[in-house]
């Protein structure tokens, strides 16, 4: 029993749902069985369990913070499993999912879809928090990088910036919901609201950037995954290559990005893409060979150099955008509610004019009501209308509908619209303050003039909201007054007692008849295409206020509330586009390394060639905390036939540094030859410069159905430097030293797996586990680090 391996307790699995007893028991049983057999065999990786799963898994990714595994099935369902294989939730977003990644804090899973959406889902319950359309085509790869706390400097603390909003305001309003209609599931909706709130507040913790790369060569950057800050089209990025004193410009065509990785200091981005390399100086030079897979190094130092500024701006701007959505929803909901009520009212009261004509009378309904009010006489048509076609019940129904619509209007204005506009204006004021610090914020494109304009517009919006609430209060009161008067009249006509009806003001009835019976001032304010007339006195008053520092745009009272809002939106868009374009223009291509050519026929499949990029911190540079450097490792499988190589995997390191400092050519790598009877299914870089390879026996050989998982310490292998003779010779990976991989040697850890394997391979550096999938629909979870203590340290470090 002492041999019994410790079962890893699920760490920090915050989801609250307890496993059903049966499930838990089963899982435990399986685990025991599997792990004891693993321990007995003495092989390097402990098999935690081997479970059948009823889906074909397309993508899988471990949560960086918790022992959770997110998987995407072939039919684009998303599953979240715990380490003990208990399933937490399943969602089917209804779109084809092409990529997946976790937020650095492990609270959000980001999904890239085939039609260019990024969906952000909550880890707790799988609810969608955001859906952002940043691309036009399928998103192939996602990478969410967080600024490392180690790179914090003293200077940063000094420039720490407090978001004052939480201090000065109660929690921000959320989208209004239609009350009463879905009262059954209000609990769920409340939860969702809380989640969104938690999301927006949690996203303010540490600076992080989500990179998304699509099939057409576009890369988008968004801070916290929600605020778009840059977009690069690789097809249009000029690539300058310095060789033997001559500068040549190149460009890539028909780019499809297959992998992006942003270094953890946010300083550099390495991407793998396929495309055709053309010389922009001399177009004739391009040949067939120029179509291939290339490795690009982009300089994203703007993110690291200006991360405080970007953080502050995006924090404010993303909250503003949230609130703008709240305002939009409020306006549309008010408009809907009110028009429903008005439709009922007009539908009922439109019977009167036709009755009048039926009775051969030429007067309007206004006249008829007026004569009823002054007690001259009640025409038969009006009598018929009030008593039979409208009736007491119908009248009460109208009154109730209008009252409830009015209540909704009031609630939306006071609970959602007004607070949202108030907080927007405060946040804009803060942003304007930041924009004034030109030396810091002009570099990232925060423009003072544009921010001034937006602040002005939001002020007008506040005036419009106030005007709307006043008009609404008046109109609602008049309706209330009129309807009770009509009710009283009906009761009198029916000779019923009227003491239950509240007393009414007959002057207000006249006002109603004259100005509200066939007009709808509330609706006018909620429509965008209305222009209001305003008189000379008001014009003078507004112009007068200009001298006192009022709004310089004195025409704003002509607009309706909805129009004013759309103007605010426009100017907001313009103001936020500025940082977007400014930052985008500061991301440059630093270097290019053609990896291997592909023939155009298999260009499509090349995107699925296994590859992995990782950045490791340089051990010797840690003494300088302010700017540590990191080394990039690129590991990929060379497709059979390309470069005349078969069954090779290449590992390259120090590509970025070789681009930036040309005098010390440090670019090095090696090739790994995989035994002929196996093929590499997937590979991944793992912590401490290791490579994990999945090898599966070829179906033709006798090893079919046997597979291996291999972990190699790259430092034990000999990296050989190779020169970048580009552009004289595009591809020179062959120069690298080729090593034979032997499955029984001990320069790495090797474990055989009794299944034919398929993609994907999911390894988690922070948790020290790997999950592999067999083509027979089995999932196998291995513990990569035997040293449990070390792993625990790692785990606690991540906490």
């Amino acid at each position: 029993l002492s041999l019994f391996p410790p079962v890893r307790p699920p760490k920090k699995t915050s989801p609250k749902k307890p496993p059903t007893k049966q499930q838990a028991a089963m899982a435990e049983e399986q685990m025991e069985e599997a792990s004891s057999s693993a321990a007995a065999s003495g092989t390097p990786f402990q098999l935690q369990f081997d479970k059948p799963i009823p889906f074909q898994i397309k993508l899988a990714e471990w949560n960086p913070e918790k022992d959770l595994l997110a998987m995407v099935t072939d039919d684009s369902k998303v599953l979240l499993h715990r380490f003990n294989w208990q399933r937490l939730w399943t969602i089917s977003p209804g779109k084809c999912i092409t990529s997946i990644c976790w937020s650095p804090d492990g609270k959000i899973v980001a999904l890239g879809t085939e039609d260019g959406f990024v969906l952000l889902h909550d880890v707790e319950n799988g609810k969608m928090l955001r859906s952002i359309k940043s691309h036009d085509v399928a998103i192939i790869c996602l990478n969410w990088a967080e600024d490392e706390p180690l790179s914090r400097t003293d200077k940063e603390d000094l420039l720490s910036y407090e978001d004052r909003t939480t201090r000065f305001f109660p929690p921000a309003p959320v989208m209004p919901r239609i009350g009463g209609l879905n009262s059954g599931d209000t609990g769920l909706a409340d939860e969702n609201e809380e989640a969104i709130q938690a999301f927006s507040s949690a996203s303010c913790q540490r600076f992080n950037i989500l990179c998304t790369g699509d099939k057409d060569g576009c890369i988008c950057f968004s801070i916290f995954g929600i605020f778009p800050i840059g977009k690069i089209n690789i097809n249009k990025v000029p690539i300058h290559v310095q060789s033997s004193g001559k500068r040549t410009s190149y460009r890539l065509q028909d780019v499809s990005i297959s992998k992006v990785s942003l270094s953890r200091n946010l300083h550099q981005l390495v991407l793998l893409c396929s495309g055709k390399l053309i010389n922009t100086d001399n177009l004739s030079l391009s040949n067939d060979l120029s179509v291939g897979v290339h490795c690009l190094h982009l300089d994203t130092s703007i993110f690291s150099n200006r991360k405080n500024e970007l953080h502050q701006v995006s924090q404010q701007a993303s909250s503003i955008q949230d609130l703008v959505e709240v305002v939009r929803a409020s306006i549309s909901m008010m408009s809907k509610q009110w028009s429903n009520a008005m439709n009922l009212f007009h539908e009922k009261f439109s019977a009167l004019p036709s009755l009048l004509t039926a009775h051969g009378m030429e007067s309007s309904s206004e006249d008829e009501f007026m004569s009823l009010l002054f007690g001259t006489h009640t025409s038969p048509a009006l009598h018929q209308f009030l008593v039979s076609s409208l009736g007491e019940a119908g009248l009460k129904r109208i009154a109730k509908t209008i009252e409830s619509a009015g209540r909704e209007l009031r609630i939306v204005v006071s609970e959602h619209l007004q607070p949202a506009v108030e907080i927007i204006s405060f946040r804009l004021a803060e942003l304007r303050g930041l924009a004034r610090w030109r030396s810091r914020f002009q570099n990232i494109g925060l423009d003072e003039k544009l921010m001034d304009g937006v602040t002005e517009r939001v002020g007008m919006l506040v005036v419009q909201v106030e005007r709307f609430s006043r008009v609404a209060a008046t109109v609602l009161y008049l309706f209330q007054n009129f309807l009770s008067w009509v009710l009283k009249c009906v009761k009198i006509l029916l000779s019923e007692p009227t003491d239950q009806v509240p007393s009414t003001n007959s002057e207000l009835v006249v006002i109603f008849l004259k100005f509200l019976l066939d007009k709808d001032p509330i609706k006018q304010l909620l429509e965008t295409d209305q222009i209001f007339e305003w008189d000379i006195d008001t014009a003078k008053h507004v112009e007068h206020l200009v001298v006192f520092g009022g709004f310089t745009d004195t025409k704003f009272l002509e607009r309706s509330l909805a129009k004013q809002f759309s103007e605010l939106e426009e100017s907001l868009k313009e103001a936020f586009l500025m940082p977007f374009t400014t930052v985008s223009s500061q991301i440059h291509c630093q270097g290019l390394l053609p990896l291997y050519p592909v023939t155009s026929s298999d260009a499509l499949s090349s995107t699925s060639t296994p590859a992995s990029i990782a950045f490791y911190k340089d051990k010797d540079s840690q003494h300088n905390a302010s700017s540590y450097s990191s080394t990039d490792y690129i590991c990929f499988k060379i497709p059979d036939g390309s470069l005349n190589l078969r069954n090779f995997v290449a590992v390259i390191k120090d590509f970025c540094n070789s681009c930036s400092t040309s005098n010390t050519p440090s670019l090095s790598g090696f090739l790994l030859h995989i035994p002929v009877e196996y093929e590499c299914v997937d590979l991944s870089l793992y912590k401490d410069n290791q490579v994990v390879l999945l090898l599966s026996g070829k179906s033709s050989s006798e090893n079919a159905g046997r597979s291996w998982m291999v972990m190699l310490q790259t430092e034990n292998l000999s990296f050989s430097q190779f020169s970048r003779t580009f552009p004289a010779n595009y591809y020179n990976l062959q120069e690298l030293e080729a090593l034979e991989l032997q499955l029984d040697t001990d320069y790495g850890k090797v474990r055989s797996v009794p299944h034919p394997l398929s993609t994907p391979l999911a390894v988690s550096a922070s948790r020290g586990v790997a999950c592999i999938f067999s083509s027979r629909r089995h999932a196998l979870v291995y513990i990569l680090d035997e040293d449990e203590d070390e792993d625990e340290d790692e785990g606690s470090e991540m906490e």
């Binding site: 000094l158 910036y161 201090r167 000065f168 305001f169 109660p170 206004e366 007026m370 004569s371 009031r410 204005v413 006071s414 007004q418 108030e422 204006s425 405060f426 804009l428 004021a429 303050g433 004034r436 610090w437 939001v458 002020g459 005036v463 106030e466 006043r470 008009v471 209060a473 008046t474 609602l476 009161y477 209330q480 509240p502 007393s503 003001n505 207000l508 006002i511 004259k514 007009k519 001032p521 006018q524 304010l525 222009i531 209001f532 007339e533 008189d535 000379i536 006195d537 008001t538 003078k540 008053h541 507004v542 112009e543 007068h544 206020l545 001298v547 006192f548 520092g549 009022g550 009272l557």
Partner: protein, 678 residues
């Protein structure tokens, strides 16, 4: 009867009514060219901008009904009077003389509105004459007395107002109650008489600055209304008392409340702090009652008062036991925001609890008829020519807009929430928010606002102009404002003018003028009639600053120190922060940086706990200057301090502060030996 027929009939009625008040319109004295001795240096600036100025003058030359002043921020007594008026003029259904009486009451109501809006437009004596005339014609109309009381009050005639008030309540003798919207509508009004009279009396004393007498009246009112179970009156009285407490300086009432009026068992236990607690208790009780009785106006007023309290005071838990009792010694701005939002509900919630009877007081019989002729003429014209523009008849910005059923008192309360917001942001430091909220007030509530509140809004706008656009723009606007609000009565505008002139004199180094204005401030503040503690602090603050500018450091420090003790005594923590900053500044200027440091730090921590962000930023800047004065080896620390304060200062600080911060920044770089400049 056709519509036109009705119009005709009603138009005749209004003609009758108008003939009565035509004399007042003519009697109004529009002509004011109050030349104040200070206007000379000001005019020099105005001359430059006369072009702009003229453009805006024309439209306002004929503007009437403007000009009055009062310095209270929220202006609670006026608001309270307003509730009274609205309720007092409740129509009585007297079938014998329904029409004429109704019209008359409408007229009285209108006059009350005018009085409330700007008393200076109503001359005391001619108004009184008309009222007396009316009274002889209709002796049963006791409201005339009340109107006379209001008139006397507005013209600061203590004896007359007291007299009329007494007469009103003696004559009406319980026939007309003040509070119609109590929970039980059939409650007989006779019971509610005496306490209402006492409430009015209390307000009267409060207005004339006799806190002791006011409190006596209120205490009696509380006793009577408790005896008569008049809950709504009690709620109003509580509101009035809390208003009194917050108005007349906390410390002067220590003995008063404890001895006379016992709110509970724990009152009167002694320490000055407990007075603040009492204020809080009172406000909360009034709020609770108003909420229970659905007195929406009072509810809104209480919310505003609570916001005002929260703005400047740390809310301590009333009961705190053990070590876990929260001891967060900071103000809570989110509470202020919440209260202000709740107080704005008075407008949006208007009419939710049924039709209010108080509206049927005939107030429309005059106003809507006035507009009807315009409306119908435009109606006819619209039928002849097709119009593209849309007329929103209920838009308050539209001249033809129909009179709103919402009483002005409700609008005023909704408006003062915005004004209060602007004040709150002045404290918390967000210049765009101050400007925006004030503008919203000036744009949306100008029609309903009383002139004192409106002038306060303009004062705020002009202050913003002075700070952000420079003095010439501010003086240009000030000139316009003075025309809008006759300065003879408007102390607020007058004060602002003095402030601006003083600031500019200091800024330009005209010490003689600065000293002159300081003396004037001293005269204003030393008046025995009203003990306005805020004016007193401002006067001595300005004196200290003038002395500082004249480089008389020891005297300046002495003035500032005595000011600090005063503020401390009256528990004016917010003012303390700025006084401390001034002391730090004095020490810095007198080359005594080491002494200045503790003051600057103290000011900073005061600001932190009261959330005075902008003041904190400028304290940080002063701190940086002090460090810099200590030698070049502190340049790094100073630089980091400047960087800390820059976002606040650049975003919300005025031109002068911004310029100062840039200079300090440059100095930091220059003194830093390691700074290369590239």
């Amino acid at each position: 009867m056709t519509f036109e027929g009705v119009c005709h009939l009603l138009a005749n009625l209004v003609a009758y009514c108008n003939s009565a008040d035509a004399s007042y319109d003519l009697a109004e004295d529009e002509d004011f060219n109050g030349e104040i001795e200070m206007s000379d240096p000001m005019d020099a600036d105005i001359g430059v901008r006369s072009g702009v100025f003229d453009r805006y003058t024309q439209g306002y030359a004929t503007e009437s009904h403007m000009g009055e002043s009062s310095s209270s921020l929220i202006h609670a007594p006026i608001s309270l009077h307003n509730f009274d008026e609205a309720d007092i003029f409740k129509a009585e259904d007297n079938p014998t003389c329904l029409r004429s009486r109704w019209q008359l009451e409408a007229y009285l109501n209108q006059q009350a509105d005018v009085l409330e809006k700007d008393p200076s437009s109503v001359p005391l004596n001619s108004f009184n004459n008309t009222m007396t005339q009316l009274q002889t014609l209709a002796p049963e109309l006791h409201r005339v007395q009340f109107l006379q009381y209001l008139n006397a009050l507005c013209h600061d005639d203590y004896v007359a107002s007291l007299d009329h008030l007494h007469r009103y309540f003696d004559y009406s003798a319980g026939m007309q109650g003040l509070f119609s919207r109590s929970l039980s509508p059939h409650q007989d009004n006779i019971v509610g008489k005496y306490e209402s009279a006492l409430l009015c009396l209390g307000n009267l004393h409060c207005y004339f600055g006799h806190p002791k007498k006011a409190l006596e009246a209120f205490t009696e009112a509380v006793r009577v209304s408790q005896m008569n179970n008049d809950d709504s009156c009690l709620a109003y009285i509580l509101g009035a008392i809390s208003n009194l407490l917050s108005k007349i300086g906390i410390s002067s009432t220590v003995g008063l409340i404890g001895s006379r009026y016992s709110l509970g068992n724990n009152i009167g236990l002694g320490t000055p702090l407990s007075i603040q607690q009492q204020l809080l208790v009172l406000l909360k009780r009034s709020l609770k009652r108003a909420d229970m009785l659905k007195l929406t106006s009072l509810l809104s007023f209480d919310h505003i008062s609570l916001a005002k309290f929260d703005l400047k005071h740390v809310q301590r838990p009333l009961v705190s036991f053990g070590p876990n009792g929260s001891t967060k010694l900071r103000t809570c701005p989110a509470d202020v925001c919440k209260n202000l939002r709740l107080s704005s509900h008075v407008l949006s919630d208007f009419g939710t609890d049924g039709l209010s009877i108080a509206n049927d007081n005939g107030s429309f019989s005059t106003s809507w008829l006035r507009n009807l002729s315009d409306a119908s003429s435009s109606w006819h014209s619209s039928s002849t020519k097709p119009r593209k523009l849309i007329t929103n008849d209920f838009d308050n910005f539209h001249f033809h807009a129909q009179p709103s059923p919402i009483p002005t008192s409700v609008l005023q309360l909704a408006g003062s929430a915005y004004l209060m917001r602007a004040t709150a942001w002045e404290h918390y430091g967000s210049a765009p928010m101050v400007r925006m909220n004030t503008l919203v007030y000036a744009t949306c509530f100008a029609d309903a606002a009383s002139s004192s509140e409106l002038s306060l809004a303009y004062v705020k706008l002009i202050e913003q102009l002075a700070v952000f656009k420079g003095y010439s723009a501010a003086f240009c606007a000030l000139k316009l404002a003075e025309e809008k609000f006759p300065s003879s009565t408007n102390s607020q505008i007058h004060l602002l003018k003095m402030q601006l002139l003083h600031e500019r004199a200091l800024h330009r180094g005209h010490l003689r003028i600065a000293q002159q204005i300081c003396d004037e401030f001293g005269v204003l503040s030393s008046s025995v009639s009203g003990v306005d503690i805020e004016l007193k602090t401002e006067a001595s603050l300005r004196r200290a600053r003038t002395l500082l500018a004249a480089k008389q450091f020891s005297q300046a420090a002495a003035v500032a120190n005595s000011l600090f003790t005063t503020c401390y005594k009256y528990n004016m923590q917010v003012e303390n922060a700025s006084v401390l900053l001034l002391l730090a500044e004095i020490h810095r200027k007198s080359d005594n940086a080491v002494l200045g440091l503790p003051y600057a730090l103290a000011s900073q921590s005061f600001c932190k706990s009261f959330n005075l962000d902008l003041l904190e930023a400028s304290a940080t800047l002063t701190l940086a200057e002090l460090w810099l004065a200590l030698g070049s080896n502190h340049a790094k620390r100073a630089l980091s301090l400047v960087y800390q304060s820059l976002p606040m200062i650049l975003g919300h600080g005025g031109l002068e502060l911004r310029a100062r911060s840039q200079i300090v920044l440059a100095k930091c770089h220059l003194t830093d030996p390691e700074f290369s400049g590239i």
